[in-house]
């Protein structure tokens, strides 16, 4: 027990007769950014789908604050404080950020909008935003929900360097506010700059990597193909 908010424990799953996850374990602790690294197709998204109940594992279970979650679902976990960000746009495109905030019952959104630098477009329909603007808006929305844990699938994918930097700052804001941030990525250099903790995923299994910030990249980089 390490004070983890969210954990997938001993997750084993096969799809179409092919083993995808093999006793995989990943957790997220409060105040830290934890990265799950693995090549494309390694099973990161599948693991996240197990965490939010979209996939039922053959073995293993999801834990929330150390307690086993009987029937995980995004709605159920969100009611306990989880925020999930998939690798595709998910806000309602015909609504603005302000309308989303009204839906969530959050009246005081201005400070969050200011903090995330999205004030200029809070009244615009999110469908009219650029990819980077939309990603920041989604993260600001998640931040406004004050989550205990944030689960993000490839949050940097397809972004320009400027927006990548802004998203990294947004993740740090979430962690600094006490949230347990867990995100998946396949870019080891980016992870090295952004994450505090690192799990690698290979052949369906996972392991916690220590010293990845201090150790020269060549000592561990070969272990995770781009």
């Amino acid at each position: 027990m390490n004070g983890a908010i969210l954990a997938g424990d001993s997750i084993t799953l096969s799809l179409g007769g092919r083993s995808i996850l093999n006793s995989a374990y990943v957790d997220a602790v409060p105040g830290a950014i934890t990265a799950l690294v693995g090549r494309s197709g390694a099973g990161k998204t599948t693991f996240f789908n197990v965490l939010i109940g979209r996939r039922r594992p053959e073995l293993g279970y999801v834990r929330w604050r150390g307690e086993r979650v009987p029937h995980p679902s995004l709605a159920a976990l969100a009611r306990h404080g989880l925020f999930y960000h998939p690798d595709r746009p998910w806000l309602a495109l015909h609504l603005s950020f302000v309308e989303h905030m009204a839906l969530a019952g959050r009246i005081e959104w201005r400070a969050v909008a200011e903090e995330f630098g999205i004030t200029p477009w809070v009244e615009r329909k999110v469908g009219s935003l650029s990819g980077g603007e939309l990603r920041l808006t989604e993260l600001a929305f998640g931040f406004a929900l004050a989550p205990a844990a944030a689960l993000l699938d490839e949050p940097f994918r397809g972004l320009e360097p400027k927006h990548r930097e802004e998203v990294a700052i947004a993740l740090r804001r979430l962690a600094s506010a006490g949230a347990a941030v867990l995100y998946a990525d396949h870019d080891v250099e980016s992870v090295r700059r952004t994450a505090d903790r690192l799990f690698s995923m290979e052949n369906g299994g996972t392991r916690l990597v220590t010293g990845f910030k201090e150790r020269p990249l060549h000592e561990w980089y070969h272990e995770w193909p781009r």
Partner: protein, 118 residues
């Protein structure tokens, strides 16, 4: 060990209350789409009933239930295609909370049409 009970007790709360949901532009957009689906279902049912030479717009609970299931199935597909199920999930909203008000709409509209048709 009753882990289910302990899990339930750590619940914070749903982000969205039913009254706020019913007033929201997102619910209104689902309502508009649902009414279009209801009209399509009513026309299809009416045409089938006419062929069978029975009252086209009578209120038949079994038929209403099957039609409602079909309409909700299409609506859920549209919601998932737009990834709005993720938005609803992040707001702590179950599918039941989205569907329940539409079941009332189905019954009221169909009963009203049956009443007008007699």
């Amino acid at each position: 060990m009753d882990t289910t009970g302990r899990w339930e007790r750590t619940k914070v709360q749903a982000h969205v209350r039913l009254a706020a949901w019913l007033r929201s532009p997102l619910f209104r957009s689902y309502l508009r789409r649902f009414i279009l689906l209801w009209v399509a279902g009513k026309i299809a049912n009416g045409a089938t009933a006419a062929v069978l030479e029975i009252q086209p717009f009578a209120f038949r609970p079994g038929t209403e239930l099957v039609t409602f299931a079909f309409e909700i199935g299409v609506l859920v597909l549209l919601i998932k295609r737009a990834n709005e199920d993720i938005l609803l999930g992040n707001l702590g909203m179950s599918v039941a909370m989205v569907i329940a008000p539409l079941a009332v709409v189905q019954v009221v509209l169909s009963a009203l049409v049956a009443l007008l048709a007699t």
